[in-house]
């Protein structure tokens, strides 16, 4: 069997899910057309904040990733793992963490108060950008770090011995490869941002397209309006993806044995400063979440544990689905697979969920499908991240060992099993970890389908908050974060330990 064949099925599945649900929503709509002036304002805000957030995240990630790539120090592995944390946090938990540092009563305001300065004002455009950078800087760092690690150590040794400019000959080509992809992914994440923009945005100026969809579906019950906005979001994503498709250059790095060797360039002090600042920026809010959550642990009701078990099961199923789809797309390659791998980023969970609801409703009681549908939608939403992680690893595996495999007539599943999967192991672990943790934290569509029991951990947390039980919610948030990170760690670690050569 050709390894490219399943990719077509996977791409078709994804596109049918995306556009089928959109169509299902549109077909239920009353006729109507066009976008209101408020929609255009929302579109402008959405795009501008996403551009600034993505630009800043990537720009800051480059020096941090370089510092991490060339310095080894005790706790580096733990730090890299923890850097994955903010991205995996449920939005509402993360905001509480950020406020503990940047809020009116936060640490920063406290320090400013000592020197007689007024407290920080986090609400507004800059607040939205700050939160998005908090979420996405670690992701950008991990993606770019992956790029650095893909440069064979021998080349750095060679460059160092020749006194050659490493930046120009090794790093810039790698960055030209890694940065557009990272930028696109983060731009698109920020494009569909909803709660962050609304909570920290300071007012209706900070309205995103996703919020407009929410409003159309929930308060106006205007399905047509929601479908049109959903289409705008998909179109935006397609345009951005098409631009990157043209910019991105193929990986020409080749493969070396993945040994780590020291580097001889760059200032130790500057690197330490970058790592230190990034760690402070990302870990202090995390610490605050831990402290507050620990205080609320005693109030957490016992009903949390079945919910935790459900969330973990949903995450595992969702991860398996994500990885199967992502691998199929990556093995296929080409334009169709690229777009099928990117477009889900534009998917509004609300539109997909509503569409699925309309589609399955005539056949089954949606309540029965709450968990499977949640797993499916979470898998769809996590897919782009897995694809971004797997694609370069696949290219490297083929570039390094494709011809050898060809000459040994290793095709089909034998090639996958003996050559590709082992060579992509680290990326597979990282991708699966991301998918699992994202699925844990995602409220997604469960609320629409949920019945009496069957609540997931984020939903349980949200329900606690809705009943004034903020301390118990904080405790639940901590459990959620701990479980997400544990899943991420387990997968990521699984991809690295015992990775022979």
């Amino acid at each position: 069997m050709s390894l490219r064949a399943p990719g077509l099925t996977a791409a078709a599945f994804i596109l049918v899910l995306l556009f089928g649900t959109l169509a299902a929503v549109a077909l239920r709509a009353e006729p109507g057309a066009g976008l209101a002036p408020a929609d255009w304002a929302a579109l402008r805000f959405t795009v501008s904040q996403a551009l600034v957030s993505a630009g800043l995240s990537v720009a800051l990630a480059v020096p941090v990733a370089r510092a991490l790539a060339r310095r080894s120090f005790p706790g580096r592995g733990l730090l890299v793992t923890l850097l994955g944390a903010p991205f995996l946090l449920p939005v509402i938990v993360a905001i509480v963490g950020l406020l503990a540092v940047f809020g009116r009563n936060g640490l920063l305001s406290l320090v400013l108060g000592w020197v007689g300065l007024p407290p920080v004002q986090i609400y507004g455009f800059h607040g939205v950008v700050l939160a998005h950078v908090f979420f996405n800087l670690p992701l950008a760092t991990r993606m770019i770090l992956q790029g650095w690690l893909s440069i064979p150590a021998e080349r750095f040794r060679l460059a160092a011995s020749l006194g050659a400019p490493i930046g120009a000959i090794l790093e810039r080509p790698m960055l030209r490869q890694a940065v557009p992809g990272a930028f696109l992914v983060i731009f698109l994440i920020c494009l569909t941002s909803f709660a962050v923009a609304l909570t920290l945005g300071g007012g209706p100026r900070a309205t995103t397209v996703e919020l407009a969809i929410y409003q159309a579906l929930r308060f106006e019950f205007d399905l047509g309006h929601a479908a049109r906005l959903g289409l705008v979001q998909v179109a935006l994503t397609a345009v951005a993806a098409a631009l990157v498709w043209r910019i991105a250059v193929p990986d020409a790095m080749g493969a070396g044995l993945d040994r780590v060797v020291p580097r001889w360039d760059g200032s130790r002090g500057v690197d330490a400063a970058w790592i230190g600042l990034a760690a402070l920026f990302l870990l202090v809010p995390l610490g605050a979440i831990g402290v507050r959550g620990a205080a609320g642990l005693a109030d957490v009701p016992a009903s949390i544990w079945p919910a935790a078990l459900r969330s973990v099961s949903v995450a595992l199923v969702s991860t398996a689905l994500t990885m199967a789809l992502a691998l199929a797309l990556v093995l296929r390659g080409g334009r169709l697979a690229f777009f099928a791998g990117v477009l889900p980023l534009a998917a509004s969970a609300l539109v997909v969920g509503t569409g699925l609801f309309i589609v399955v409703r005539p056949f089954v009681n949606p309540t029965v499908l709450a968990l499977p549908v949640t797993a499916l939608v979470n898998a769809l939403l996590a897919l782009p991240f897995a694809v971004r992680v797997l694609a370069p690893a696949h290219e490297r595996a083929e570039a390094g060992f494709g011809r050898l495999a060809d000459s040994l007539a290793l095709t089909g599943t034998a090639r996958l099993r003996l050559v590709l999967l082992p060579r992509m192991r680290r990326a597979l672990g990282f991708g699966a970890g991301l998918a699992a943790a994202l699925s844990m934290g995602d409220l997604g569509v469960i609320a629409l389908f949920a019945g009496t029991g069957g609540e997931t951990l984020p939903l349980a947390m949200f329900r606690l908050m809705g009943s004034y039980r903020m301390a118990a919610a904080a405790g639940t948030g901590l459990i959620l974060v701990a479980l997400s990170l544990a899943l991420f760690w387990a997968f990521d670690r699984g991809g690295r330990v015992d990775a022979r050569a």
């Binding site: 060809d406 000459s407 040994l408 007539a409 034998a414 082992p422 060579r423 022979r500 050569a501």
Partner: protein, 231 residues
């Protein structure tokens, strides 16, 4: 017999023509300036590069429609001849079957070729745990076990020291030569290659010349080769 009939290869602005035959059982060196197309020619014979025109024939059979693994060809590359995540024995076993679990008989054959290249008892090691010379020997053992009539060597020993390189060339001639195998090997060191290659193909200026006896060619090189050899 290997025959390249009106072969024309192109890669971007680069083009190479070849119209020649190599006798079965011959050991032939490919020499010529860097970038002249020696590796490209091997890639076309191995099936990695589709010719723009012409045919590659083995014993009169056109190899055009065959995938690399289906051709009567074994090949050693400049680097990456072993999968770093598989043990030496597993790597060599791939010459027999894509299953990693070998039968008793297959294991014996792997052990035998390991012995032939002087790697007795190292089958369980990972390639990364071997020295450069040992890695080359392991790769050679795999080619030996593949047992294809045509073997292409694209400077697989370039990274080794001169002494080790000589030793590996000698070992190559010893284990792979004979038994009717035809060897094509790319070399940057014409005089080194001359030691095992009776004939030499000179590749330069967009053309691969027909093989000529190495001794005679080096003793009285045509102008282009003279320029390459630097007198």
């Amino acid at each position: 017999m290997l025959a390249l009939e009106g072969l024309r290869l192109e890669q971007g602005a680069f083009a190479l023509k070849a119209d020649l035959t190599v006798a079965t059982g011959a050991i032939v060196a490919l020499i010529g300036p860097s970038g002249a197309g020696k590796s490209t020619l091997l890639a076309a014979i191995a099936g990695f590069l589709k010719p723009v025109a012409g045919r590659v024939l083995w014993d009169g059979v056109d190899l055009g429609g065959l995938a690399p693994g289906e051709r009567p060809v074994a090949m050693l590359f400049q680097e990456g001849n072993l999968f770093p995540h598989l043990s030496v024995a597993e790597n060599i076993g791939l010459a027999l079957t894509p299953r990693l679990r070998l039968s008793e008989a297959e294991r014996a054959r792997v052990a035998e070729v390991l012995g032939r290249v002087g790697l007795d008892g190292l089958g369980d090691r990972l390639p990364g745990d071997l020295s450069g010379g040992q890695q080359s020997r392991a790769a050679l053992a795999r080619v030996l076990l593949q047992d294809r009539p045509l073997v292409l060597l694209d400077e697989p020993f370039a990274a080794l020291g001169p002494g080790l390189r000589d030793e590996m060339l000698a070992l190559t001639a010893e284990v792979l030569g004979g038994a009717g195998r035809t060897l094509l090997l790319v070399s940057h060191e014409p005089r080194e290659a001359a030691r095992i290659a009776g004939e030499t193909i000179f590749v330069a200026g967009g053309r691969a010349e027909a093989p000529a006896p190495t001794e005679a060619l080096l003793a009285d090189p045509p102008p282009a080769l003279r320029e390459y050899l630097g007198g």
